[in-house]
Symmetry: C2
Subunit: 203 residues, 2 copies
């Protein structure tokens, strides 16, 4: 595939994205990115100085539009139950659209935790404190069971993210095809809000 005229930089990013995703940082070869982009390998170094720089560029752009969307949902002014619905619906849609992001993050966690920490502090200082406070309010109002709000938040993240991070294993263990997995996730959009709310709701 020849590169689109004068679009090399973008072509490279797209190709690198694809290769890094499927091979991981160490498994990725500059030559493979070049081949995927249909350009000469030296051009990668012309636009981005090094393998590291390319990876960083991809990671940053992926993350910069991903995390804020989640925090926005959690810190919105929606009423609690509605928010739980919105959270899973939008979060799963995001993950369907960018199923690689959990893996990306895992890589940075394993490979560069201190970098990730400063990255977080630099780009996203806001924490889901509003949501945690909202959970407490619901408890105080007697609408949901008294629990540690952190346990609830972590559980919600786990329920949404885990299937994507563990997809290949789940497919084996549960004998799911690609289509099976897709409908599994679609079904999960309905399943999760009910699952969580049934558990939280005071009876």
């Amino acid at each position: 595939m020849a590169p689109a005229e004068h679009q090399s930089e973008d072509t490279i990013l797209k190709a690198a994205h694809k290769v890094f995703l499927s091979r991981g940082y160490h498994g990725t070869r500059m030559q493979e990115i070049a081949d995927e982009a249909g350009i000469n390998k030296a051009l990668l170094h012309y636009y981005f100085r090094s393998k590291d720089k390319i990876f960083e560029a991809i990671f940053l752009s992926s993350f910069k539009n991903f995390l804020p969307q989640i925090l926005e949902i959690l810190d919105s002014d929606e009423p609690f139950e509605k928010k739980i619905n919105t959270f899973f619906s939008k979060y799963l849609d995001l993950l369907i659209k960018h199923p690689h992001i959990p893996n990306f993050i895992m890589h940075e966690v394993a490979h560069n935790p201190e970098h990730l920490q400063s990255f977080f502090k630099k780009h996203f200082e806001s924490k889901p404190s509003k949501f945690l406070r909202q959970i407490k309010e619901e408890m105080d109002a007697g609408r949901i069971e008294k629990q540690d709000p952190k346990q609830i938040l972590v559980s919600m993240l786990a329920l949404a993210i885990f299937p994507f991070a563990a997809k290949p294993i789940l497919q084996i263990v549960l004998e799911m095809s690609e289509d099976d997995f897709k409908s599994f996730i679609q079904e999960r959009k309905k399943f999760l809000p009910e699952f969580v709310m049934r558990s939280l709701r005071k009876i």
Copy 2:
């Protein structure tokens, strides 16, 4: 550090385990394993023919006592609610004891899914079919809400495993120290069975 006399094989496995865990398959260098074990690199090839064989040996031994313990719980004859309790209690204890295993697997999932897939297919064919059937029985008996059993199983795995896989990020986002995280997990042993059962139980 010199190798204990004639213990090289075990020394190598221990060293390789440590290095593969922190670096992942592609990130691991045979030289680093040799250094970690305090032996010559050629000895790695003397005991194990290749990098692949070493990885296989480690992954296998890690898993051979890990996965069966989980499957045993899931396929035991305990009544349903008791089993949910046992599952989380024992699984979290296992993860506390081997907190690296989720990262190990996630790393390989992210960087080498096809390698992992063939590995699983080769070594573990048993599936938690008995547990899935048991869930169905509970539904038919009207004791729990009708749901897709797979959604429930995946949710249980997610709730247990995710905090370990995502530990560094959770610590940043939720501002938890090492001790905070430990007590968070301890608390989770009580939290999870209640969380799941409240959700499943028919009212």
